[in-house]
Amino acid sequence: MMFILYWTAFKRVTLRFLAEPKWLLLMISVVLMSLVYLNGSINNLPVAVVDLDHSASSRELIRVLDTSAKVNITIYENSLDAYQDINDRKLFAVITIPHDYEKRLLKGETITIPAYGDASSRLANGMIQQDFKSIYQQFLSRYNANLMRNSGLTAEQVNIILMPIKSQIDPLYNAGISFAAITFPGLLVMLLQHSLLIVSTRTHIALSASPQGKPPAIIFLGSLSALIPIWLFLSIVLFGLWPWILGYRQLATLPQILLMTFPFLLAVLGLAKLLTESLRKIEMIYLTLSFMTTPVFYLSGTIWPLEAMPNWVKCIAKLLPSTWATNMIAGVNQMGLSILDNLFNLFMLMVLGCFYAFLGIFIAMVREGRARAFFKRYSFKYFYK
């Protein structure tokens, strides 16, 4: 009998969601957001070079800087125009090659080449800075190597003396520095959590408010568990297919994705129970959760590390299932960790899910007066009678 009730509720909700696929709004949202990342990383950002020297060396430097795929060099005759254009968002950076650049280069005098990037786009500016510095360092090494060779040193001696220690910096887990790879692990987990929270609280409230009165717990269980297969399907699309579409690293197998998202979905369902009992009105749920997505995304730790947040903010971050899930899914899917390396994340998701669900049940019991009866029944006084 219990199973029939469970199955009927499960089937009814599944069919309703298949007939009215509003959950596909999530996919539309992801598709629209992905359009920004179609270029993969930044490329061809307009950068101005103001050449005040007009010498062979300055032209050589411009040619070398233009080899970077990330930028597209435009020559400006004067600095004022270039700075006006960077102010008007027509340029991303301005490099000024000073007067007497070549002359001072040949004399071995100290020269500083000022370069200014638009720091309002923090990530892009960091990438351009790194790229320019590395290109410039290579250019300078070649120039110095020529000077040393001209003074009679052999190629091997030049090599050793110029660079006694070879410096190598290797980016891991995100070859080519894809913007999508940086943003999406946190963003997709946040979207999955947000959409499931909304739908499960709506389902819960709709069931509680049914004209026939509040149905038995098994109906709730059947209805809410019907959401899991749909969100598991979404997680396969988002964590399995989407990295492939956007061209960033994807390592987890299908069973691994399911194994990671299943406890995450349970934790979110637990949180949904607590929110349902705390907020109670569908409108209030929308008017609260919709605004929390941006902070939840920032709290995931992918854009800004948790170490840089105050302790009370860290506590909030750690109370969210999305923080643990982002760490786990990014770890397995992009950084090659195994599920066994993430047992603590899995454990925390289960603990959070149970904690929120029990807290939600407790609040419901208090509201309905059942908690008082329960404590009365199981009090010490009753026990010793």
Partner: protein, 382 residues
Amino acid sequence: MDLRELAVVFFKRFKAAFDDELQFIFRRFTHHWLLWILPLLIFVLIGNIFSQGVLYDLPVGVVDQDKSVLSKTIIRDLNAGAHANIIDYEDSLNQAEKSLAKANIYALLYIPPNFEADVLAGRQPTPIFYYNALYYSAGLYSIMDYSGLIAQLNSELRILLAAKAGLAIPKLVQANLNYDGLFNASGNSMYFQQFSAMVHLIQLFVVALTIHVLGKLPRKTRLSYPFILGKLAPYTLWYTMLLIFEIALLVLYSQARVSGNPFSMLIVGFFYVIAAQSLGILLFTFTRSIIDAYSFIGLLVGLALTYSGVVVPELSMPWIARFISSIEPLTYALNKLFDLFLRHASLLSVVKTCLILSSYPIIITFLVRKRLVKRLILEGTS
């Protein structure tokens, strides 16, 4: 009825609705929630997330297989730099790699065996500095001091090695590329992240409250445009003031300098709120219930966040993304407010932005002209 009479009637109805709404503005908890409680809570939360502003002392692992004076100098100097806080993994490269993948550390310096001996013998050893490019901000900041440190060591060792080999080194070129950030001299992330989040969230609050207010309009009153505008106008003023108040808080807290005219900010904020209200009217008109309208706010959140140009610069977006970005009022408002905050914005550019933002209510009025009143009546009967 001539034009003057029409204007008088319009104004009378507008004023009556405005005065009526003023009496109710703080009578509902939902209004308190959307007008100040939640905006300020989120303001405080986001402000605290980015309160450090610049990333210092990030955990960086070291596996030193040489343990020589030179390798220890590199580690000590890296630790003394602003961005790295060294965690020694002894010889356990595997454990350090795991920590890197688990984001317990954001970079890992590996110094090979015989490092110092190889340097002195001219064998050019290569210590490798790995960083987590997936957690890019933290990864990038944690390696920030390394290149300068190695360049410094190389220039010191160059003299030593040349003297040892009896070679005379010619005067080398001393040319530095000094790359700095404009419009954010301190490299502080707080301005940008909190400023953009604030402007972006105000749009969502305005859209949500507009839908809420339209859903609760009194049923008995004859619905007309001046009435609806009068009902929404108190919230236009409120959210404009809230935006300016939050910007002022941010400026005071971070001791930032506003390079533009604060009054221009107020004007841009006012038109931005009106544009956001018209988006709310559009969503309300073309959905069947207010809950359906609310569910589109989620879509707006992601889009506004992605297309605002804070994550991916507009100059680097593909054409389709630039087009979507250009139809979002947030893009214009955010850019102009940023300009007024940190760049230089002419009065003409402020006027241009206000004109663009005021085109939203005009276009949306045209789009909803046949449906809005019907939709309001439908809401009343549902």
